[in-house]
């Protein structure tokens, strides 16, 4: 079939790399002139489209386990497979397949045993069992995104990443998002590269933590190398360490953090003279 694609050099290169790998981004250019297009070797445009579509479709391996499924198993598999990377909840599966419970459970087990489907944790509703075809990576909605692992927020990992980001910002004094991402890439501490969105998420979290502050470049002094008006980040405290927020006047006395302040009156059961928090505070 490919031999006939002798229309131009480009098509020749297609043949050389063979269609079955990642060539979605290629565009097939047909002959420029009318003569070329109508030359005996040329192919009609629809055929080219068909060839590309065929090449994108995964050809099921003849020896794959999916072939040896019973009818019920096939129905169930198709339902799960049809949901692609979103997966499906067991109750929805039952509704859609309409299989009796016993048959359904057996089919589910077989499919799992054959490693055609797998269970995934859905962060939105952890109590509900979700399944997904093994062929797909679970979607972000299902896993919760990059900061989740096995359905749980990976706090240790996040803190580690945040600490490294804060360190980079501190070293650069004033850093832009691109600057931070670059510096992190160069350190090679993390195996995976962070996307722009992930970088933004981490920096935003540092800002919310009040460890880093957002400033606009004035183009003067420390901002000299940064375009005026560009958003930059600066560490609030030395080393961008955690837990150095200034304690306010209210927060430093018992009443400022008292859970019972709304019930406290000068002559009530809870009052300044009977207050246990005061007693504890003034226990020298």
């Amino acid at each position: 079939m490919f031999c006939r694609l002798k229309v131009c050099n480009f098509c020749n290169s297609l043949r050389a790399s063979s269609f079955s790998s990642a060539e979605q981004s290629f565009t097939v250019v047909l002959g420029e002139t009318k003569n070329e297009r109508e030359a005996p070797g040329a192919i009609p445009v629809y055929l080219v489209h068909w060839i590309i579509a065929m090449s994108k479709r995964k050809q099921p391996d003849s020896s794959s386990p999916a072939d040896s499924l019973s009818q019920n198993e096939r129905i169930l598999y198709n339902v799960i497979h049809g949901k692609q990377d979103m997966g499906i909840w067991t109750r929805d599966m039952k509704k859609e397949t309409n299989l009796p419970d016993k048959v359904f459970n057996a089919a589910l087990k077989t499919l799992q045993a054959k490693k055609l489907i797998q269970e995934v944790v859905n962060v939105q509703s952890k109590g509900r069992k979700h399944y997904i075809a093994t062929e797909f990576e679970p979607s972000k909605e299902l896993t919760g995104g990059a900061w989740y692992s096995e359905g749980k927020l990976d706090k240790d990992y996040i803190n580690l990443v945040k600490d490294q980001f804060a360190k980079m910002i501190y070293q650069q004094k004033v850093a832009t998002l691109e600057g931070i991402a670059d510096a992190i890439r160069k350190t090679k501490i993390f195996k995976t590269e962070f996307t722009k969105q992930q970088t933004e998420e981490i920096v935003r979290d540092l800002v919310l933590d009040n460890r880093v502050m957002e400033v606009k470049s004035t183009g003067m002094g420390e901002f000299a190398s940064i375009q005026i008006g560009k958003v930059c980040y600066k560490c609030k405290s030395k080393g961008g360490t955690r837990g150095e927020t200034k304690v306010g006047a209210m927060a430093s006395i018992p009443c400022g953090v008292c859970p019972r302040i709304s019930q406290c009156t000068p002559d009530g059961i809870i009052s300044p003279s009977t207050c246990v928090y005061f007693a504890k505070w003034l226990d020298f």
């Binding site: 952890k126 200034k246 406290c264």
Partner: protein, 508 residues
């Protein structure tokens, strides 16, 4: 921000501890019920007319109450009394006011202010005949204080309000009424009407009172006379006695400036703080009102001159001052003729944010702190899941934390029901600044009141030990005494700090 429920309670507590129960009862009625006539006051307080009269006199003498009447076309004029809660709260700050004076003036000025604060209102004669020093130097110091606006003439004994409320602010002239904030409460209106005109307020022109002292008047007012040429002398001749008092507004302005400078020091650096201090110092007398949003525009040369006036400022170069100015002022704050103005409101708002956030952090934890910060900067309400994603907090924990904050009035919540193929309900959350700020201020007044009450309680507990002579306070008694002294130290420090916070939210 208007005083809150606990603000009133705190004010009554201050009056009780300064003037006793009778005066406090009168004051409480005025604070809670608003302006009252003498007859109504007697009725509500159930005190004898003489007691109420005396209480009112004390309160007026100490600038805590202002009499006024409404100008009616028909019927007799009835005098009413309105409590000035701000002035009552200022009574707790006298020590801070004294510090301001001691930093700017000499010992003599300090003594004059002390006298005025203790006695509320005094004539010049009373001031000069006080126990201090030579009369001549006292008068010079007094002149200095008046020129610096730290001492002012007392307001009219009885303000006359015009009936239509719209007319009141117009008195200040058609041009300024656009700029000057229209007074809202009756208290503000009365204060505005009672205040002497700007020229009169700080005028030390000769009058019957100072005439009595012969030659002294000429020595003290030659410079000022020229300034106020336009004023008619006849007007003053009619005044029987001129009373003077400390000008709280000026003190609050100084403290406000100080707070701004300290906040800039913490947020930016010492250099920026120095520059801001210089800017505010050189324009202090030009400020129209205490709560001015932007500092008065000032040229670079004036700023630099003032910067190098101080010892710390002398090692700042022009470039460094310019760099600091670029941090302090946005582009729009710089005029074409290169005069700079700083957004003071923004500086104070950031300080207020810090205070509220630190309460949230201490009370509800770091996750809640992040959510509160996110929501207070967000321009619109955010949905629960979105908050969880943006703050990197576990999805399951987010609603619990948000609910706690909502329950304590730190957040507003709204339910959104979406009808469609799938019915769903979303909760959206947001921070409503005015509501939260008012709530926090009320809690601050409550906390200040509690500190004061607890201190009184501790004082009561130690009374017996306190009466013992020092050499008998040994063993367990000595320990008790030592503890009490620590308690007093900690409590006083906390009271000062909490009052700073109250000023930040209430007065600045």
């Amino acid at each position: 921000m208007p005083a809150t429920h606990f603000g009133v309670k705190y004010a009554v507590h201050i009056i009780t501890s300064h003037f006793g129960n009778l005066v406090a009862k009168v004051c409480e009625n005025l604070l809670k019920r608003g302006p009252l006539t003498l007859r109504l006051l007697i009725g509500f307080t159930e005190l004898t007319p003489q007691q109420v009269k005396n209480s009112l006199l004390i309160l007026i003498q100490h600038n805590c109450v202002q009499p006024f009447s409404v100008d009616q076309a028909e019927g007799p004029k009835v005098t009413q009394y309105v409590a000035l809660i701000d002035n009552i709260l200022h009574r707790w700050r006298f020590a801070k006011f004294m510090t301001v004076v001691s930093q700017e003036f000499d010992k003599e000025c300090e003594l004059i202010i002390k006298d005025l604060l203790e006695n509320g209102r005094l004539t010049l004669k009373q001031i000069t005949e006080g126990e201090y020093a030579v009369k001549d130097t006292v008068e010079k110091s007094f002149l200095k204080l008046v020129n610096a606006h730290f001492v002012e003439r007392c307001p009219a004994p009885e303000a006359v309000l015009e009936e239509a409320s719209k007319d009141a602010p117009k008195k200040r002239g058609p041009k300024s009424s656009k700029i000057v904030e229209v007074p809202e409460t009756i208290e503000q209106r009365v204060v505005a009407v009672a205040a002497p005109s700007a020229a009169m307020r700080f005028s030390i022109l000769t009058d019957s009172e100072t005439d009595a002292h012969g030659g002294s008047s000429s020595s003290m007012s030659t410079g000022d006379k020229r300034k106020h040429d336009a004023l008619e002398l006849d007007e003053f001749a009619n005044n029987e006695v001129v009373l003077w008092r400390a000008n709280f507004e000026e003190f609050i302005r100084c403290l406000r400036h100080k707070a701004c400078v300290e906040n800039v020091r913490a947020r930016l650096d010492d250099g920026a703080a120095l520059v801001l201090r210089a800017m505010l110092k050189s324009t202090r007398t030009a400020e129209k009102k205490v709560k001015t949003e932007n500092s008065v525009p000032v040229s670079f040369s004036t700023i630099y001159e003032e910067v190098i006036n101080s010892e710390a400022g002398r090692n700042l170069t022009c470039d460094r001052v310019k760099a600091s100015l670029s941090l302090l002022c946005d582009e729009r704050d710089v005029d074409e003729d290169e005069s700079y103005s700083v957004d003071l409101k923004k500086i104070l708002e950031l300080a207020q944010n810090d205070e509220v956030e630190s309460i949230v952090l201490k009370r509800y934890g770091r996750d809640a702190y992040k959510m509160f910060r996110l929501l207070s900067t967000s321009s619109r309400a955010l949905e629960t899941d979105k908050i969880s994603d943006m703050t990197l907090v576990e999805k399951k924990e987010t609603p619990t934390i948000l609910y706690k904050l909502w329950n304590d009035e730190y957040l507003l919540m709204e339910r959104l029901a979406v009808t469609g193929a799938r019915q769903a309900q979303f909760l959206v959350w947001k921070v409503d600044r005015p509501i939260v700020w008012k709530h926090v201020l009320d809690e601050m007044f409550h906390a200040a009141l509690n500190l004061s009450l607890r201190l009184a309680y501790e004082d009561e507990q130690i009374k017996e030990v306190q009466l013992l002579p020092a050499h008998k306070r040994t063993g367990p008694l000595g320990k008790q005494w030592q503890r009490f002294r620590n308690v007093v130290y900690v409590m006083h420090a906390s009271q000062l700090k909490i009052d700073d916070a109250i000023m930040l939210f209430h007065d600045f």
